[in-house]
């Protein structure tokens, strides 16, 4: 992956894979409520994908200079194994950890390339993933850590 388009294609593919992943987990979930939540997660990933498609066509611009709050919630949580009776807490942990991994991937890649448009795009992608992570971490903070 050396060009901006290749990187964007990769990122778009990753978002689609994430959407497929949540749909797959939703199929396995036992309760209608959890199915709906997981399908909502899948829709969120599809929204991310649409944004990246717009970036590719020049309709949307990534903003690498923006700083995104890192609540660091997911950093210290234990990995979750996907099961049929997945809970909302499990689903959020999975989502947070996936977004964190994506953020780290783009950040590492950006650190390795010299100053260029490509670097800016990678940094922009990292910021996008950090925003997604914040979305799920804020949800975890609000819904799971209610008494804490």
């Amino acid at each position: 992956m050396n060009t901006v388009d290749e990187i964007l294609d990769y990122a778009i593919d990753q978002e689609q894979q994430a959407a497929d992943f949540y749909e797959d987990v939703a199929q396995r979930a036992e309760t209608a409520g959890m199915k709906k939540i997981l399908l909502d997660f899948s829709e969120e990933e599809k929204r991310h994908k649409r944004i990246l498609l717009e970036v590719k066509t020049g309709e949307h611009e990534l903003t690498p200079e923006q700083e995104v709050l890192d609540l660091k919630i997911s950093d210290y949580l234990v990995e979750v194994e996907i099961s049929d009776n997945i809970t909302y807490q499990d689903a959020l942990i999975i989502a947070m950890k996936r977004e964190r991994a994506a953020y780290e991937l783009y950040s590492d890649m950006a650190a390795k390339v010299p100053e260029s448009h490509l670097k800016e795009v990678l940094e922009g992608l990292a910021i996008e993933e950090a925003k997604h992570k914040l979305f799920f971490e804020a949800e975890y903070d609000e819904r799971v850590l209610m008494d804490n």
Binding site: V78, M146, D147
Partner: protein
């Protein structure tokens, strides 16, 4: 006719050239004295529409009217006072009683119009030139028609309270209760805010009248757990009491408790005098907590045969196994439960649905079903090392204590969390002689626990470390101990207006060792008793049920309520859910009766 009579009309004409005795219109503007009691001013944005001005007005010159700009909401009736100057005698009592200090009087006194219908107006809403008048009558600084401070409740001193599980709040005596009842302005804003819509002003009035039997009757109309709620209610009512704007809110919870304390349990049957006509319907209830038993009470009133299935050996749910007896003694909870049972409610204790009897069997055998099994599963922190044997759950510790078992916490304890379960786990630990540290992610002011509980836990010697985020549980040097690594947090404002969020500061980490760590960060529901295909059909969002009208679910016969079906997860909301579901079940079982009523209304 005399000559004088003939000339007199002409003498009158000479007056036409003299200075007149009356004023010409428009009048010469003569300002009122600075403290003159003239037309009313209301700061309508500050006013909460409590209507105390309307109540106190001796001339019935004030009506409370709906105003488009102000919608009824928590703590605001949405009404504003409308003055009739054909009746007002300018006494200023309305200004003196105003709970929000929004009402005052200008020193304007002239309002001229040919139309007698115009001399009434809604102050602060209808534009008038005197609204910004700086003179006139104001209530003197510090002057109150009612005492701004509530009558203090006698509490066990902390050094004594930690020595036993005796009830900490000792209760009002009659004189104290009457004095406190006198502070109520009977506005009823509390009624709208109470989840169960208890008739607070009227039962407080019954204390003034010394008619406690009437008070008890009024409370049972909306709440069959008055002894319990008189002790541990979350007091939404007090949070909106307008007397609390300039002083302390009326101690509604303690007054409720006072009424119940005056009535002997054996007199309940006679006082409440329930006339039950048996119906042919059978209803099953899962869970004998406040939601389940509230539904049982109101269903029984309708004559339905009610059977409650309870996994534990006694009723009350979280009230018994999650609220320690120093806040709610067992005999007070039993006072409420025993009366419900006395109406013929059959509670099958030690009967777990899904194990001792199947859910499907209940669906088959009963005409309707109400589920209220609450939030009984402690949430897990999901941090590394959490499965250490010295990490205990707050709910388990409280249940052990309720069952008379030693929770085995040791002498140095950390409690994780900031809710009521965390505070109670901490206070229980103090009573077992432990040194207690509470670690909480946010600031004390953001703790979801009742303010009173936080204060009392501190008074009893618990140390609260705020902005402390646990990140890992680690083995200590001995197996009898456990260490926890936690980091300090900085609070960051939520741009969307939510609670400020704690952000871990990884350069400020700490490691402490304890005999046990009690985790109390929240609870979830246990729906394992429901078959998969049933779970599929029930609407569950964010781990909770989202019932429809009258607590009905997507399943024809099934209604839900209580902590796992509402956002507040407190006893009073569960009680209302049970009451509301009972109405729904009654409609469901007697559709024709309701159809007729609805047609009559049409």
């Amino acid at each position: 006719m005399s000559l004088k009579d003939l000339l007199s009309p002409f003498f009158v004409w000479q007056r036409a050239f003299e200075k007149p005795y009356t004023s010409k219109r428009p009048t010469i503007d003569r300002p009122g004295a600075p403290a003159y009691r003239g037309f009313h001013i209301n700061i309508a944005d500050t006013c909460v529409g409590c209507g105390s001005c309307h109540e106190i007005c001796q001339n019935h010159a004030i009506d409370m009217v709906a105003v488009e700009k102000y919608e009824g909401k928590k703590g605001d009736s949405g009404l504003r006072p409308r003055f009739d100057y054909g009746r007002c005698c300018w006494c200023g009592l309305c200004v003196d009683i105003c709970t929000a200090a929004s009402l005052r009087m200008s020193n304007e006194y002239a309002w001229i119009s040919d139309d007698p219908e115009v001399f009434h107006f809604t102050a602060g809403v209808d534009e008038k030139p005197w609204q910004d008048n700086e003179h006139g009558y104001r209530r003197a600084e510090g002057y109150h028609l009612y005492p701004p401070k509530r009558i203090e409740m006698e509490m066990l001193p902390p050094e004594k309270s930690v020595m036993s599980f005796d009830e900490v709040a000792r209760g009002y005596d009659e004189q104290q209760a009457k004095k406190e009842a006198d502070r109520c302005v009977e506005c009823g804003i509390c009624v709208a805010t109470c989840p169960a819509h208890m008739d607070v002003p009227d039962y407080i009035h019954s204390i003034r009248d010394g008619d406690y039997e009437k008070g008890l009757q009024l409370m049972y109309r909306t709440n069959p757990f008055p002894a319990t709620c008189g002790r541990i209610c979350t007091r939404n009512c007090e949070s909106v009491c307008p007397v609390g704007i300039l002083g302390e809110p009326v101690a509604i919870r303690w007054l409720k408790r006072f009424i119940v304390d005056q009535v002997d349990k054996k007199d309940y049957q006679r006082i409440l005098n329930e006339q039950i006509t048996e119906s042919e319907h059978k209803v099953a209830i899962i869970g004998a907590g406040p939601g389940g038993l509230s539904a049982a009470y109101y269903l029984r009133q309708q004559g339905h045969a009610v059977t409650v299935f309870e996994a534990q050996g006694a009723g009350g749910g979280m009230l018994r196994y999650g609220v320690p007896s120093y806040r709610l003694p067992d005999d007070e909870l039993d006072k409420d439960i025993d009366y419900i049972v006395s109406l013929g409610v059959d509670i099958r204790y030690n009967t777990e649905v899904g194990k001792d009897i199947t859910f499907e069997k209940l669906l088959e055998d009963y005409d309707a079903l109400f589920m209220s099994t609450g939030l009984s599963v402690p949430s897990s922190m999901r941090i590394h090392g959490e499965d250490h044997p010295r990490v205990l759950s707050g709910l388990q510790v409280l249940a052990d204590v309720a069952n008379g078992r030693d929770p085995g916490i040791g002498k140095k304890v950390a409690v994780i969390g900031g809710g009521n379960v965390a505070m109670d786990a901490a206070r229980v630990s103090r009573r077992y002689g432990a040194e207690v540290t509470i670690l909480y992610r946010r600031r004390i002011s953001e703790m979801p626990a009742d303010e009173e509980e936080i204060h009392e836990s501190q008074e009893e010697g618990c140390t609260i470390v705020q902005q402390a985020i646990p990140v890992e549980v680690v083995n200590a040097e001995t197996q009898e101990q456990v260490s926890i690594r936690w980091g300090e947090a900085e609070m960051v404002d939520d741009p969307k207006g939510g609670r400020p969020r704690p952000v871990l500061q990884e350069d400020r980490m700490h490691m402490d060792t304890y005999d046990s760590i009690i985790s109390a960060i929240g609870q979830g529901s246990n729906l394992n008793y429901l078959p998969k295909e049933i779970q599929e059909k029930l609407a569950v969002e964010w781990g909770k049920f989202t019932p429809g009208e009258y607590q009905h679910t997507a399943l024809e016969k099934v209604f839900v309520g209580g902590d796992f079906a509402n956002r507040t997860a407190d006893a009073i909301s569960a009680i209302e859910d049970g009451h509301h579901a009972a109405r729904g079940i009654n409609r469901f079982l007697n559709p024709d009766a309701y159809k007729e009523t609805e047609q009559q209304v049409d």
